[in-house]
């Protein structure tokens, strides 16, 4: 074979790839296959089956999809449906629309105001999840919380929302937490449109809404699709609401990730937990394949949560 003068020889390239390959292999690829294997066993954390798990075939899956309990609170089906609703309301509707609105608004407002608004939205996104969880705990407190203080000030009845409307609380919470990503993605999409497009529309007498509908939106369609898939994928896997509600009260905010955690690390049923993990991964795989198939065209890079 002829010697090649690529900047890096094959051998050097292989050497450069080794540390990354080992880490990704051990903690990304291996878990993928291991979880499938474990999901067919009755492995537990403690006791006899911790050391010598038995092969149980599809028992874990059959248990998850048991029609008599499927829709019961605290069961798999309930969590799956809850998570689906959570994704629809907090990601597809909440984050995407709010992000789009914010991105459009900050195109035209004065720079100082823009910086303040952006900072507030991004702060919700970058602060550690534990801190955010506690902030909302304080915010929603019945007696002293900021929200009820405001409601009382406006003459409205206060509420103990974490108890009364826990699902809507985590929907609003997640919308608030994640809108920054959509805002930034759409913001960068809008600013990649040449200003002359809008100036031409201005000259033609278009209103802000017409410019948005007729020029901006068609041009950022690709970004919208990217955004929707990414936030769906991330929201589907999000664990943060656990820090606000712990999955309760009485399983009413038990998303799939929280359900998986409870089954595996509270009830110590690793086999069943693994089966839940496999299903989550299969759903992730669908989204990822959709994303990659359209992402082959030039798309913005994902920045994972």
């Amino acid at each position: 074979m002829k010697k090649s003068f690529a900047l890096l020889s094959h051998r050097a390239a292989a050497l450069f790839l080794t540390p990354g390959a080992l880490l990704v292999g051990a903690f990304v690829l291996l878990p993928f296959f291991w979880v499938i294997f474990v999901s067919f066993t009755n492995r537990t954390l403690l006791g006899r089956t911790a050391l010598n798990p038995e092969f149980v075939g599809l028992a874990n899956y059959i248990q998850l999809f048991d029609p008599t309990t499927f829709f019961t609170r605290g069961q798999f089906g309930f969590s799956l449906i809850l998570t689906t609703q959570f994704v629809i309301f907090s990601a597809l509707i909440g984050q995407a629309l709010l992000g789009l609105l914010l991105a459009w608004l900050i195109q035209t407002i004065p720079p100082a105001l823009k910086r303040i608004v952006e900072s507030a939205v991004i702060a919700a996104w970058i602060l550690p999840e534990v801190v955010i969880g506690f902030a909302w705990f304080a915010f929603l407190d019945y007696d002293n919380g900021t929200l009820n203080m405001i409601l009382r000030g406006l003459g409205l009845p206060p509420g103990d929302f974490l108890l009364q409307q826990p699902f809507w609380v985590i929907v609003v919470f997640n919308t608030w937490r994640g809108a920054a990503f959509s805002m930034m993605l759409f913001n960068s999409a809008f600013s990649s449109i040449p200003p002359s497009y809008f100036q031409a529309a201005d000259v033609a007498g278009a209103s802000s809404w017409q410019k948005f509908r007729d020029i901006a939106l068609p041009l950022i369609r690709g970004h919208v699709v990217t955004d929707l898939i990414l936030i769906t994928m991330w929201t589907f896997n999000v664990f943060t609401p656990f820090l606000l509600t712990g999955g309760g009260p009485s399983y009413r905010t038990e998303l799939l990730s929280i359900y998986n955690y409870r089954v595996a690390f509270r009830d110590f049923e690793f086999g069943k937990g693994a089966a839940v993990g496999v299903i989550i991964m299969l759903i992730n795989l669908c989204f990822a394949l959709i994303y990659l198939s359209i992402g082959r065209k030039k798309q913005p890079k994902p920045v994972q949560p």
């Binding site: 090649s4 690529a6 900047l7 890096l8 050097a12 390239a13 450069f16 790839l17 540390p19 990354g20 880490l23 990704v24 051990a26 903690f27 990304v28 878990p31 993928f32 291991w34 979880v35 474990v38 914010l102 608004l105 407002i109 608004v117 507030a120 939205v121 991004i122 702060a123 919700a124 996104w125 970058i126 602060l127 550690p128 999840e129 534990v130 506690f134 902030a135 915010f139 007696d143 002293n144 900021t146 203080m149 990503f181 930034m184 913001n187 209103s207 896997n237 999000v238 664990f239 820090l243 990730s257 955690y261 690793f270 993990g277 989550i280 991964m281 990822a288 394949l289 920045v303 949560p305």
Partner: protein, 276 residues
């Protein structure tokens, strides 16, 4: 350009709407501006009277809390070093070598990194770490994060390196440098901004994480701040508000600082977005 009256009002409306939305976003966080400096803080918003650092003094007197910050630092720095080195080398190889199957490797990594999330893989990750005998060690948290953050880091960096003309290294080699010299003298310094972005992103991710250390660690002495923060709950499970507020603020400062650093240094573009 002079604005017509309707345009003027539409601008005003935009600004007002943006301001309201900004305020709604800030609302749940305002409490954090006051409570840490109020020795009698409760869950309600109250202007500190007197303004005091007493809460911080108490926090700094709590060995366990400080230990938590140190543990966060150990795990974040450890993970970041691994991610930084491994991602830089791998991304450079993927961008600059003619190794066969580069495209496929990139595709598979992108796929798996999206599929294998923390919430889906918590069971196998726990079992793998157990099998390695690393449960309840810093290195366990470091390794898991390094592996999990690597694919995305590699894409960001590879993209960055792809955008750098190869002529930098080529001119170095023509001028007499070996490939290794070209890498260290020329490529590495040019890639450095990309590495900084990746490192900051990885740091913020590990620093703010809760689930992985929560699962992999047991000993109080190893818990990072995100888990140690729960020591500010009383036996009955109610939070000690004053200390929690102060501790949360201290714990958030590195993230805020890094955010300001990145937006000052690179402009906070979408690409360099750091996400906790």
């Amino acid at each position: 350009m002079r604005l017509s009256l309707p345009q003027y009002f539409s601008r005003l409306g935009f600004s007002a709407l943006a301001a309201i939305l900004g305020a709604l976003f800030a609302l749940p966080l305002i409490w954090f501006l006051f409570a840490p400096f109020n020795a009698r803080a409760e869950l309600g918003i109250a202007i500190p009277d007197p303004f005091t650092f007493a809460n911080f003094e108490t926090v700094f007197g709590n060995a366990f809390a400080l230990r938590g910050l140190l543990n966060s630092l150990i795990q974040s720095v450890g993970g970041v070093i691994l991610v930084g080195i491994a991602a830089t080398l791998a991304a450079y190889a993927l961008s600059r070598s003619a190794i066969p199957g580069k495209g496929a490797v990139t595709y598979v990594l992108l796929l798996f990194s999206s599929v294998v999330s923390g919430s889906a893989a918590m069971v196998p990750i726990f079992l793998i770490i157990s099998a390695m005998g690393l449960i309840d060690t810093h290195i366990a948290v470091i390794l898991v994060f390094a592996g999990g953050l690597l694919p995305t880091s590699m894409f960001i960096l590879r993209d960055f390196i792809d955008g750098i003309p190869k002529t930098y290294e080529e001119s170095a080699m023509v001028a007499g440098a070996s490939p290794l010299q070209a890498f260290f003298d020329v490529a590495l310094p040019v890639i450095r901004p990309g590495i900084v972005v990746v490192v900051v992103w990885a740091f913020v991710n590990i620093w703010g994480s809760f689930l992985i250390p929560f699962i992999l660690l047991r000993t109080d002495d190893l818990m990072p701040a995100s888990v140690a923060i729960y020591s500010f709950y009383s036996e009955a499970g109610t939070p000690i508000v004053t200390l929690l507020a102060a501790y949360s603020l201290i714990y958030s400062l590195p993230v805020i600082g890094l955010y300001l650093f990145v937006s000052w240094k690179f402009g906070f573009r979408f690409f360099g977005g750091i996400k906790a």
